[in-house]
């Protein structure tokens, strides 16, 4: 009994120390993000080169697997973008639904022979199609090989020096390509740029475009709005400042094709987006070549977030397995000074806070339950729990503030107040749920699917 009491006491102490360290890390990240975001807004508001005719042609690669509900709307929106020169390559990765037929019928596609240059090995390409009506649209129909494989097939077929990977369940704003390409038009060293991903649920969508941004109706969707704010406005902005971004969302990212081919394309793994970025960091840091992995916070992509607990659970388990897998594959970079900020700050942060955080927190909840059960509950435990909740709220609140000082997509005071309330509620219900899902990701990790994550799709409009 005394031993257990001691364990509870020392674990409480550990959690307190861990919370303090994480709070300090969060505060540093918040301050850096604050400064960087203000710079971003300044750059965007005063862009004098936007009127220039000079851009670089882009190949949009859209991997699709069983996307019959939304594929037409998505491809339509990709074909309507404001950009002088681009092609859209949709890769049907062996869908078992009507994705292929719908695309062929709607876009008036006909089969063509394709002399694609196989730079990266992929599953068998069954047929390529072109459209009678949209000259810049190509459809590749291939055997199922997973998202990474579909992206690689798209890269092989693409003709332009930059390719943009976009999820089929996304809508990108009309000027998003012009914005995301901007770092490529300035720095010679830019090899990848991530875009800002926002949640489309609840917003008004017409003809593949967001007409009116609205707060989603369901609480589960609102929680995710806050999560995306945190991830994109306080985390990525901050890491970008030090060229230490570890992830470019698979939903919307622009890449220099030659750099991606040089490292062998996307790896067939659970978190292919993060893994690729780590491989790019590894390669360029090792060779000593100058490079930039950037983030364009004004290039916006709207995604459909899961609106059911089952869908969200499988997504979060997949994401956490992706994180674990990527860190595991590149473990030699962690705390290795050879890899600069990425090895010494970004990766240790992701390892200690993002990967192990849920485990430490779950043990904390068990210890708390045990203390109550054994009547060893002390005020210290409840205070530490409150402290961790307030820390989470701080991170969310900062993200809401950053949204308000920068892009103001939810400008209505009612929406802002609702977001503040949702952030509090998140700490006492949603947080524990996602923590548990992320812990579940460790079980049967090796059996984790390297194929498509499936979320029930709904028509955008």
């Amino acid at each position: 009994m005394i031993l257990l009491e001691k364990f509870i006491y020392y674990y409480s102490l550990f959690i307190l120390a861990y919370s303090i360290i994480v709070t300090i890390l969060y505060l540093v990240l918040i301050v850096v993000s604050w400064r960087r975001l203000r710079e971003f807004v300044g750059i965007i508001k005063t862009n004098i080169t936007g009127v220039s005719h000079y851009t670089k042609p882009i190949s949009i690669v859209v991997p699709a697997y069983n996307e019959e509900e939304i594929i037409i709307d998505s491809v339509k929106s990709f074909l309507q973008l404001d950009y002088p020169e681009y092609e859209v390559i949709v890769v049907n990765d062996g869908s078992t639904d009507q994705t292929l037929t719908k695309l062929i019928d709607f876009f008036d596609l006909y089969p063509i022979e394709l002399n694609s240059d196989t730079k990266i090995q992929t599953a068998h390409l069954k047929q390529a199609y072109k459209s009678h009506t949209y000259s810049d649209l190509i459809l590749l129909d291939k055997e199922n090989g997973g998202k990474a494989d579909a992206l690689n097939a798209g890269i092989n077929t693409s003709v332009y020096p930059l390719f943009c990977a976009i999820d089929a369940d996304c809508i990108i704003e009309k000027d998003a390509l012009l914005r995301i390409v901007s770092p490529f038009l300035k720095h010679d060293e830019t090899i990848a740029v991530g875009g800002m991903v926002r949640i489309a649920n609840g917003s008004e969508i017409k003809d593949g475009q967001i007409i009116n941004t609205k707060m989603p109706k369901k609480m589960i969707e609102r929680f995710q709005v806050i999560e995306y704010f945190r991830a994109f406005l306080t985390s990525r902005v901050g890491w970008q400042r030090y060229n230490a971004l570890m992830i470019i969302s698979g939903a919307f990212g622009l890449f220099k094709k030659s750099a991606v081919i040089e490292v062998g394309g996307f790896e067939k793994t659970i978190g292919e987006d993060m893994e690729l970025i780590l491989r790019l960091h590894e390669k360029f840091r090792q060779s000593g070549e100058a490079y930039h992995i950037d983030f364009a916070s004004d290039a916006v992509c709207w995604t459909q977030a899961p609106d059911s607990y089952n869908g969200l659970e499988s997504q979060r388990i997949r994401w956490h397995r992706g994180l674990l897998d990527s860190l595991n594959r590149h473990k030699k970079m962690i705390a290795n000074p050879k890899y600069g900020v990425i090895g010494l700050a970004s990766m240790p942060y992701f390892f200690l806070v993002e990967l192990l955080g849920p485990v430490i927190e779950t043990i904390g909840y068990i210890v708390m339950g045990l203390a109550i059960y054994l009547d060893l509950f002390s005020s210290a435990v409840i205070f530490i729990f409150l402290l961790t909740c307030l820390m989470g709220i701080l991170f969310s609140y900062s993200a809401i503030l950053f949204e308000e000082i920068s892009y103001k997509r939810y400008g209505d005071l009612k929406d802002i107040l609702l977001l503040f309330c949702v952030s509090v509620l998140e700490q006492f219900y949603y947080r524990q749920l996602t923590v548990w899902w992320r812990v579940k990701a460790f079980f049967n990790y090796s059996k984790g699917s390297k194929k498509w994550g499936t979320i029930e799709r709904k028509n955008f409009e």
Binding site: D188, F383, Y397, L401
Partner: protein, 337 residues
């Protein structure tokens, strides 16, 4: 010890509650203030804009009217409205004149001299007020990439003196700004061919020469033979230089260069150079081009053959000379083109 733990946790809780509350109040305040300021500004703008619209053709009268403007919001509305007229070529001169008389430009220059910001650069690039060239030149030396990059871009929209131009080109060619963007900026400047050739001789690095050659593209005229002849030695330069020189010479449309390019093709070992030549050759409008293009159909590289057949099909759609069609039919990889 237990007490210490409680105190530390409590202190943390109180601290975090205070920070969180501050964030909530700040966000709400920012939101409300923004809405209020925007409303006031819009109202003021709506009152001031018609006054400016009515007198923009008479700067003296307009200055007299606007001198009465006192508050910060009114001044901002006047400034923004006049800046809109700056964009219009018919009212640009008068607007700049009024902005100058009202002291806006002097105060902008004074602000920018202390610390040049992106906003200053944006406004200067719209005003095209030559007095700010030295400030922007200084901006190009900034350690902040965005300031330096935007200063270079803004300067490319100005008319500079010969001395300033030399400094500008020299500084621009040394930066890490992407090559095509440098070409874009230099293209804005409309530097004459003689001056470009002078720069070409001055700069020693291949990358710099390539940029200048790409700027020369489409500027050489058919009759600029003496000037274009100065480019012939570059056909013996590095790979990128050879490619750029081919592009410049073919864009001149002077068929006298055909023999030089043919000679280059025959001795060229790099397929990329040959591919550029097979693509750009028709721009020369040389009478002997067809034979060389047909010769290219036997090239060992696919891209050279591809470019040659595409060019032949485009240039000679009704050709009676079926020799190239026979050659294409023998080449399986070109049949589908």
């Amino acid at each position: 010890m237990e007490n210490l733990l409680v105190y530390v946790a409590l202190a943390g809780i109180v601290g975090l509650i205070l920070i969180n509350l501050t964030i909530v109040f700040s966000t709400v305040a920012i939101n409300q203030l923004d809405h209020y300021n925007d409303k006031v500004y819009q109202k003021t703008y709506r009152q001031i804009e018609p006054i400016i619209a009515a007198s923009i053709d008479n700067p003296i009268q307009l200055v007299r009217k606007l001198e009465l403007v006192k508050t910060r919001v009114e001044k901002k509305a006047v400034f923004d409205s006049l800046m809109n007229y700056v964009q219009d070529s018919t009212t640009s001169k008068n607007s700049v004149n009024v902005l100058e008389k009202l002291g806006f430009i002097d105060s902008l220059i004074s602000e920018a001299s202390k610390k040049l910001s992106l906003r200053h650069i944006q406004l200067f690039s719209q005003l095209r007020y030559n007095k700010v060239v030295p400030l922007l030149m200084k901006g190009t030396e900034s350690e902040n990439f965005e300031i330096s990059y935007n200063s270079f871009y803004a300067l490319s929209l100005f008319t500079m003196s010969q001395k300033e131009l030399s400094i500008y080109v020299s500084a621009l060619l040394k930066t890490s700004i992407i090559r095509d963007r440098k070409v874009d900026m230099l293209n804005h400047l409309h530097i004459d061919v003689k001056k470009l050739l002078y720069f070409l001789a001055e700069f020693t690095m291949d990358e710099q020469k390539v940029i200048l050659l790409l700027v020369l593209k489409n500027r050489l005229k058919k009759q600029d033979v003496i000037l274009a002849n100065q480019l012939l030695p570059y056909l013996d330069g590095g790979k990128e230089i050879r490619i750029a020189t081919i592009q410049v010479l073919t864009s001149s449309g002077n068929e006298n260069y055909f023999s030089h390019l043919k000679e280059l093709y025959e001795k060229e070992s790099d397929w990329q150079v040959r591919a550029v030549l097979s693509k750009n050759l028709p721009d020369l409008h040389a009478s002997e081009e067809q034979n060389l293009l047909i010769e290219m159909l036997n090239d060992e590289n696919w891209w050279v053959r591809h470019n040659a057949i595409t060019t032949l099909k485009k240039r000679y759609p009704d050709s009676k000379n079926n020799k190239f069609i026979e050659l294409v039919n023998e080449d399986e990889s070109l049949k589908n083109l």
